[in-house]
Symmetry: C2
Subunit: 478 residues, 2 copies
């Protein structure tokens, strides 16, 4: 189905843009040849990976959220209700203006995000204290008319897999706690993908249109760029006032509800691919790998013994619930190695006549290329142990790279010089003017004040020279 | 969340339209109050049911199909390539004409179905014999600008859950076999929903625009109307010629591929609700019921013993993997019965002090209202046995009703009279003129020649008076 991938060669990962585009195609994640800019096709292999990743997200959300589904089309009058929100989106919205050959009475927006589709319903659903907290999510396609350079999984005109949660609470504090709960879900989600994250409070000028404040989850991609892979917004009563979402408090007085929303898109898959992949292709954490183990017989001519041994191993692993592929194709073993490495299969098992004589097999880790000969009878236990080790190793490699990428810069000049290869940690007084000036001078973006120790430390704002105890991260972004 | 459903009363099922609309709302399947005609909101409970139903569909398809995902937006030039196809859809297509405040260079159609989005990709994916059979499906939202009366789950402007499979084969015969394989999947799917079906070859004038022939799956809804709940189309080389989908045959000659496509929408949920439901609400087959068992303590005042016994039963059933809800709410038992019957929970378990004295509990079937007292220690086995019995009973009731609804009519007058309460079985020579005249005179639609015995039998076409051995079914449809 890849028509020719066999003969193509993956560029080295250092050549990231080319590596990324070629890998998406060669590993059958996405086909970029759809005849509209910014729209891409999920190959079955990619979609399988996508489903496994989103299963984790569903599992984490389903603990105290419920999945629902709201319409894609939003009537113009509803869409235009919240002033800040419109300002943030009006240049990016696709409009449906015709049905059949007739113009529509009211133009319909393709949702760029679903606040204005969901909140008219929340107005009907929330009446009293007993209806809160209301925690609902949906996983849907959303649309942005991107005029910038589009890129598969990262900057799209159709976001095919937008998970958006929308919650309602009686108080500002309860909503703030939910923002934190949402972020905890995201931290756990990315931990399951072996991806370390930075969580920051976005600067005022970069928050979600209509939000009180925005928290964001960023990851470190190749070339020292960060990618925003999740956001959580405290909406306060900004939308509830517009859409009339109220409840009766214990004193019988109607109050505006406080809301939050938080989202993750298929950028999580872009991060998964880009952070773990190497010169040979994908490296997938076993939990989400569509194929977890590939078994390759090493045979020359007839060798039923070897094939039967492979089948027994396949059976053993399937009994344990693993996703196994026994590759009995005609290609040489080397070609098979290449193919399955490209697809990120975490563990390869090789069995040849000499292994069989010793009642053993060779197991090879995709992440380290480490090979071991093990007794055939241990294969189930060893593979599960390797899964844990591979997940941990992928996380540790990424964590080390992230930690080493964050460096302190005392001056704007220093940040300017380092930002092409590092995430710069800079003292910042928190003022808008200073922040914008820094972004302009460094030619990169302030992610915000990160949570935890890296966000704190005495220093001097390099713009206004005032003392401050806050540290901001600055990086080039997508 | 239903704001007031407690006080509302479900109309009797004989008053079907009202029953259907009220039930969707009261059982929290869909909210019809979204501010655009023909667009509806899936409540979490309804969406949970939807996911369970679609899990069955995925399970059946995943045996030899692969799931993928193609874009929603189709450029006008691709959409306009297949002449018959356009004719069939041009009055129903929504057009996106603007991105932000600018008009688009090429208008984009919201897919009414995805042939014209998928086949430009198949052109790239299919090169040789080895690429076939190609069997891919997606589950996506599709759009129809319906000008007729819309109805939730049945006639929609956004079909939120369209499962469409698209396959490619070297020969006409292989594609015909795939149409039959697709129908077998649908037969099994509906059997799992306890729904009997009729499979017919649609008349020429009612086939899919661009198809060689169309097979359809119909079910019997209340009021003797049939609902088309699945179709499978043999596309022959009609689309492959337009989109250039070819392969090289063993002699090195390029041949056009043969294609099929087959689809199911959320009408399957409409059928599930309408066929099994009764005056008290939903009756769900246990396999798809979001809640399979509800446990209700029968207590007056304090009664920790009873609650503990309920918790033990809950635990026992959860250990067996069942979806159980222990209702410890403050309402009277009668109010709880009403609420869970409305939501179609297949089995209710009641435990009161007197049951506990005997170490027993009462189990109540939703489908028959039959009550039994059973030993507490048997509860796991009894519930699983009841699940099988409930599924079988729901199927048998529906099958009996379907069989009794099909009656032979020798004349058009007879069909005309009977069609308001029956599906009419009429001899038909197969000619278009006779068929259309019959439809017109009877005021109903020819479903086609059904497969199996009911489609055969000697008789005389009531229009042209010729002898024929084929029988057509005529019914009022949605």
């Amino acid at each position: 189905m890849t028509d020719g991938s066999e003969s193509a060669k993956l560029p080295p990962k250092d050549d990231f843009s080319r590596w990324y585009n070629e890998l998406l195609w060669m590993a059958e994640i996405m086909d970029v040849r759809y005849p509209v800019k910014g729209l891409y096709v999920w190959y079955p292999f990619g979609f399988n990976l996508r489903n496994r990743v989103y299963s984790i997200l569903r599992e984490l959300l389903d603990v105290d959220h419920r999945e629902a589904m709201f319409p894609l089309l939003i009537p113009k009058d509803e869409f235009m209700k919240e002033a800040e929100h419109i300002k943030g989106f009006e240049d990016e919205v696709y409009w449906v203006t015709h049905g059949g050959r007739e113009p529509l009475e009211v133009p319909l927006a393709l949702r760029p995000t679903s606040e204005t589709a969901i909140y008219p319903m929340y107005r009907l659903w929330v009446r009293s204290h007993a209806d809160m907290p209301l925690r609902i999510y949906q996983i849907v396609n959303t649309f942005r008319y991107e005029t910038k350079h589009t890129r598969p999984l990262i900057r799209l005109r159709e976001i095919t897999s937008f998970k958006e949660a929308h919650t309602v609470h009686p108080t500002w504090e309860a909503a703030a706690a939910q923002v934190e709960a949402g972020l905890n879900i995201y931290r756990e989600f990315y931990r399951r993908l072996a991806i370390p994250v930075i969580v920051s409070k976005r600067p005022e000028w970069d928050k979600f249109p209509g939000a009180d404040y925005t928290m964001a989850v960023d990851v470190l991609m190749p070339e020292a760029r960060t990618l925003q892979v999740g956001t959580a917004h405290h909406l306060a009563t900004n939308f509830s006032r517009t859409f009339g979402i109220t409840y009766e408090d214990p004193n019988g007085i109607r109050q505006y509800a406080h809301q939050t929303c938080y989202g993750i898109s298929e950028r999580c898959i872009a991060a998964l691919i880009s952070i773990h992949g190497d010169d040979r292709g994908l490296r997938l954490p076993p939990e989400v790998a569509p194929i977890q183990v590939v078994i390759i017989p090493i045979i020359f001519g007839e060798s039923m013994d070897v094939i039967e041994a492979c089948q027994r191993v396949e059976e053993t692993l399937k009994t344990r619930g693993l996703r196994v592929n026994l590759d009995l194709g005609d290609e040489r073993p080397g070609a098979k190695y290449y193919k399955w490495e490209l697809k990120g299969v975490p563990v390869r098992i090789e069995i040849g006549p000499r292994d069989l004589e010793k009642n053993s097999c060779v197991v090879v880790r995709r992440d380290t290329a480490e090979k071991r000969s093990i007794p055939l009878e241990d294969v189930g236990d060893v593979v599960l142990e390797l899964f844990r080790a591979i997940h941990e190793n992928l996380f540790n490699i990424a964590k080390k790279r992230l930690d080493e990428s964050i460096i302190d810069c005392d001056t704007i000049e220093e940040a300017q010089e380092k930002v092409s290869s590092k995430i710069c940690r800079v003292s910042w007084c928190g003022r808008r003017e200073c922040g914008l000036e820094m972004e302009e001078a460094v030619g990169a973006e302030i992610l915000g004040i990160p949570e935890g120790r890296i966000g704190r430390g005495r220093g001097i704002c390099p713009v206004c020279r005032e003392n401050t105890e806050a540290k901001a991260l600055i990086s080039r972004t997508y």
